[in-house]
């Protein structure tokens, strides 16, 4: 067992500790991506509490923490029965009121880093408008922020998303549903996990367009895994909202391919969330990446041209 009690610098705090339950795992036999993000959100709440902004104070002062962007790198899979810890620190406090938080999840059984999270957070009021951090919290955040040498910032994600508004009419409809109260946090807003759960559903439909069937893939001993997420949260998504996801393939190499999903308001077409995913296929026995199946490549290339 690896001890994660004494982080390397005083700027890094232990903000999460848990275990992977079988209910967290998907058909590929590992913890599904949405639960990584759920644990990262909890860790950020612990970090905020260390700054003096715990959940009861947030509720009392009608404030909420809101992610604006997430970068998540999935480095090693976690399986049912694994135990993990999360360490977090503040990379930067910006003049515009946003905080850059870095978190790392470690498998305590192997000592291997399982995931890296880089999140830009802001504080909002009951009307969703940005609020300044309370003076004491800002002072604590500034005191804690700075270089995090044991958590180097990851290189930027490949610039695969074309600039400008998404060509929605050329993207595939991959999910249609609604946001329910049970998807939402105590402040009534859907947290990152709820967005990721939709993307997880959407990918199955994008796979159909890629001439892939998840059951057939599983039968062939091949799994699919996300490696890297770049997420932008454009505005708060609340219970009762009818939503759609539009998806497309942006680029493909021998193994790695990039896809995009946009969460849209089904009524007015407004954007809630955009996620770019770098993903690959892997051998379920060897647990190692494999080239994209040949039959898939032609469909993927057709989709890239389309998107």
């Amino acid at each position: 067992m690896t001890a994660v009690n004494e982080p390397g610098t005083k700027r890094v705090l232990v903000t999460g500790r848990g275990a992977v339950n079988m209910a967290d795992c998907d058909q590929w036999g590992h913890m599904n991506v949405q639960f990584y993000l759920a644990r990262a959100s909890d860790a950020q709440a612990h970090l905020a509490a260390r700054l003096g902004l715990g959940p009861r104070r947030l509720a009392r002062e009608q404030l909420a923490l809101r992610p604006l962007a997430d970068r998540t790198l999935f480095k090693r899979e976690l399986r049912g029965g694994d135990i993990h810890a999360i360490r977090s620190g503040i990379r930067a406090v910006h003049d515009d009121g946003t905080l850059d938080i870095a978190s790392r999840m470690t498998n305590l059984g192997s000592g291997v880093e399982s995931a890296a999270f880089e999140t830009r957070l802001c504080l909002v009021g009951a009307d969703d408008g940005a609020q300044p951090w309370p003076t004491d919290v800002l002072a604590a955040a500034r005191a804690l922020s700075g270089e995090l040498p044991e958590m180097p910032a990851p290189p930027p994600m490949a610039a695969v998303l074309p600039p400008g508004p998404p060509p929605l009419e050329r993207l595939l409809l991959t999910y249609r549903g609604s946001v329910e109260p049970w998807d939402c946090d105590a402040d009534g807003v859907a947290p990152p996990r709820a967005h990721i759960a939709r993307f997880n559903d959407a990918i199955t439909h994008l796979f159909r367009a890629m001439q892939l069937d998840r059951k057939a893939l599983l039968a062939a001993g091949t799994g699919s895994a996300a490696l890297d997420y770049g997420i932008t949260y454009h505005r708060a998504l609340r219970a009762g909202t009818a939503i759609e996801v539009r998806s497309g393939v942006l680029a493909a190499g021998e193994k790695l391919y990039y896809i995009v999903h946009h969460v849209l308001d089904a009524n007015d077409g407004g954007l809630y969330t955009t996620i770019i995913v770098a993903a690959l296929f892997f051998d379920l026995k060897q647990r190692k990446s494999v080239p994209m199946p040949a039959a898939v490549r032609a469909a993927v290339e057709r989709l890239i041209v389309h998107a």
């Binding site: 903000t15 509490a49 694994d82 135990i83 402040d187």
Partner: protein
């Protein structure tokens, strides 16, 4: 000795119509914490997968001391209270991080189980030694 075995948050999904975390989720958090305290005495995930043995709970006592609300941050500390050739008793205490209040105490009596034979078995000597070395001081469960 006590070690930190869980650091998490109460989900709105874990709350019932009384407006607080339902009792079943206290036990779920004890279950999560158990894997950590077990690992601290050598019963790591790898050990369990390879040796095919793990403690199985046979009795549990829970004291609910303070309610927990959706969004509350929680921290569990756990340790080994008693150990014998086949049995380990774990002790867990759950705190509300923001208020510092002790929300729950639980004692879990376990028997080492052979995961293939599905029967009780003896605790390996090295695990027994680590458990004895790390025993909580008498009265820790008071």
């Amino acid at each position: 000795m006590f070690i930190e075995t869980h650091l998490g948050r109460v989900s709105p999904l874990e709350c019932d119509q009384l407006g607080h975390m339902n009792v079943q989720f206290y036990v779920a958090k004890v279950s999560d914490a158990a894997w950590h305290v077990m690992a601290s005495i050598g019963l790591t995930p790898a050990y369990i997968r390879e040796r095919r043995r793990a403690p199985a709970a046979v009795k549990q006592e829970v004291l609910y001391l303070k309610e927990l609300l959706a969004g509350d941050l929680v921290r569990m500390e756990s340790g080994v209270l008693e150990v014998s050739e086949r049995k380990i008793t774990f002790f867990h205490r759950l705190f509300n991080v923001e208020t510092g209040q002790l929300a729950m105490k639980s004692k879990v009596y376990t028997v080492m189980m052979d995961l293939d034979a599905r029967r009780s078995t003896a605790i390996d000597a090295e695990v027994l030694a680590q458990a004895r070395e790390r025993l909580l001081p008498a009265g820790s469960d008071a």
